[in-house]
């Protein structure tokens, strides 16, 4: 079985938001919608403060609460763990956005453009009318994965089969791959480092791992 996951090495992320830009450009998300965000957090109490950059987005949970609540069955889950939204079934009730503990879902109810009333040339080619009035979120670039694997490429290793944010990351902080490949780079990376997942107590089994080796508790 394949289970695609993402890994963010918090020691490496410098908060440059290149992944955010790559996702927006590649997926044509409208203004205000970011499927991949990088939070800039301050932790601790002065003078012992830390700054940490945390890439966030859909965690492609193994037990996704968004799917449980969705009344239309628009939210689904593939055998490889990727959580999907069928834009043709979705009624735009936003219940999934209330159920997601990771603030990963967005919805816009009318077309919006970055510069005024009309789309730019790039926006005109990217705008997805089917994504207006329905829930949207990070897809783990499922289209790239499917096209790549169909050609025998390996997601996470071959850029053409890898999510755009991971490809663009300047510091190698974002990694992607099949965690079930026991000798593969993702399983090895996680075996060699300390990691956590967000909101484990919710039982969502997120497919997003944060590496934090040699940090502070």
């Amino acid at each position: 079985m394949t289970r695609y996951v993402m890994v963010a090495d918090l020691r490496r992320c410098v908060g440059c938001q290149t992944c955010t830009a790559a996702c927006k450009e590649g997926n044509g998300t409208p203004p205000g919608v970011q499927w991949r965000r990088v939070l800039d957090l301050e932790t601790g109490t002065y003078p012992n403060v830390n700054r940490v950059f945390v890439p966030v987005g859909c965690q492609h949970c193994a037990n996704p609460p968004c799917m449980e609540v969705c009344p239309s069955t628009a939210t689904g889950q593939r055998a490889d763990g990727i959580v999907t939204i069928d834009y043709e079934l979705c009624i735009g009730c936003s219940y999934c956005a209330m159920a997601c503990p990771y603030d990963a879902r967005s919805m816009v109810d009318h077309a919006e453009y970055a510069f005024g009333e009309q789309p730019t040339a790039v926006e005109a080619t990217r705008i997805g009318r089917e994504r207006i009035g329905v829930a949207t979120k990070c897809t783990f670039c499922a289209g790239r994965i499917d096209a790549g694997t169909a050609r025998g490429l390996v997601p996470g290793q071959d850029p053409e089969a890898t999510p755009l944010c991971v490809n663009s990351c300047i510091s190698g902080a974002l990694r992607f791959g099949d965690i079930e490949d026991k000798d593969g780079p993702i399983a090895t990376l996680l075996a060699e480092n300390q990691w956590f997942r967000m909101h484990e107590s919710e039982g969502t089994e997120p497919g997003f791992y944060y590496i934090w080796d040699k940090g502070t508790l």
Binding site: L41, R51, G92, C93, A173, D213
Partner: protein, 296 residues
């Protein structure tokens, strides 16, 4: 370890969604009280019809909110796990059955409608409980609060519909006391849940204090009306008790609506990102990151 707050208020459900919980709560409560009236041999058709109207109005409001209203039928596709689907299914049986009870003046149908109305309200409470992104709705004590609030609102509106004899005032007082207890338990639950701290702040704002004052004033008015009704000597004018009962009914309903509007639109903060640990940046050794690509 403290960290900057990252929780955002949910941006998707506005007053239209709150209207569904307001109409659903008041309507369900009213239908239940109307059925009790039916069993007691009292007139019940007007409050039952009104209760159905509240439920239908709430559902219409939510229909106006969804992004694809012409696909609304898809709401029925997921009864296995979605409380929203279950709410929809119960409503599609409740409304025609309740309408039949009104049309045929049928007590058994009214009782069945009340059971469905109670189920409808239960679904609404579970809808909030299943919203795992919003700590203020996840709180276990919210379920009894939603149920008690529905009964309090419904019995309050029932008083307005003209029935303010001792049994109905007693029922309303019971519902208001139940809501009071549920509210205090909910507040205490929020106070003990760090993730819900911002919601607690919302319930300390002036609109929330106003709703709370209305809640207590409604309770006092209904208790006084009941006192008048019980203690007044024969021949005493009924007007003071009637006015108190109406005031209590209005306040019982309005205060519940206010709290629900705040709960859905203002106190609904999505869970913050929480870092259990903080990394030391730049400590990633060779081989722990690096180029992910076989070929670029």
């Amino acid at each position: 370890m403290s960290q900057t707050v990252t929780s955002r208020r949910q941006r998707h459900w506005d007053l239209r969604a709150a209207g569904n919980f307001i109409g659903g709560g008041t309507g369900s409560g009213l239908i239940v009280v109307a059925a009790i009236a039916a069993v007691a041999g009292e007139p019940f058709r007007l409050p039952l019809a009104l209760g159905l109207g509240f439920v239908a109005a709430g559902l219409s409001l939510v229909w106006l909110e969804i992004g694809k209203p012409w696909r609304a039928f898809n709401v029925f596709f997921h009864p296995r796990t979605s409380w929203m689907t279950r709410e929809g299914i119960v409503a599609t049986v409740l409304i025609p059955l309740g309408a039949a009870a009104v049309a045929a003046d049928s007590v058994p149908a009214a009782v069945l409608a009340a059971l469905l109305a109670a189920g409808f309200l239960f679904c609404q409470a579970r809808i909030l409980r299943a919203a795992r992104g919003i700590p203020a709705w996840r709180q276990g004590e919210l379920m009894p609060l939603i149920l008690a609030t529905g009964l309090a609102e419904g019995s309050g509106v029932f008083l307005l519909a003209g029935a303010h004899a001792v049994p109905w005032l007693t029922l309303t007082l019971f519902a208001l006391l139940a809501r009071e207890g549920a509210w205090l338990a909910y507040r205490a639950g929020l106070a003990g849940t760090p993730a819900a701290a911002r919601a607690l702040g919302v319930f300390a704002t002036p609109p929330a204090r106003l709703a709370r004052a209305a809640q207590l004033a409604g309770l006092a008015a209904v208790a006084l009306a009941l006192g008048f009704a019980l203690l007044a000597a024969p021949g005493t004018p009924e007007l003071p008790a009637t006015l108190l009962a109406w005031a209590g009914g209005v306040l019982a309903a309005l205060s519940g609506w206010g709290v629900k509007a705040l709960l859905i639109t203002r106190a609904a903060f999505i869970r913050a990102v929480v870092l259990p640990v903080v990394p030391t940046r730049g400590s990633g050794g060779r081989g722990s990151g690096g180029s992910h690509a076989r070929a670029v």
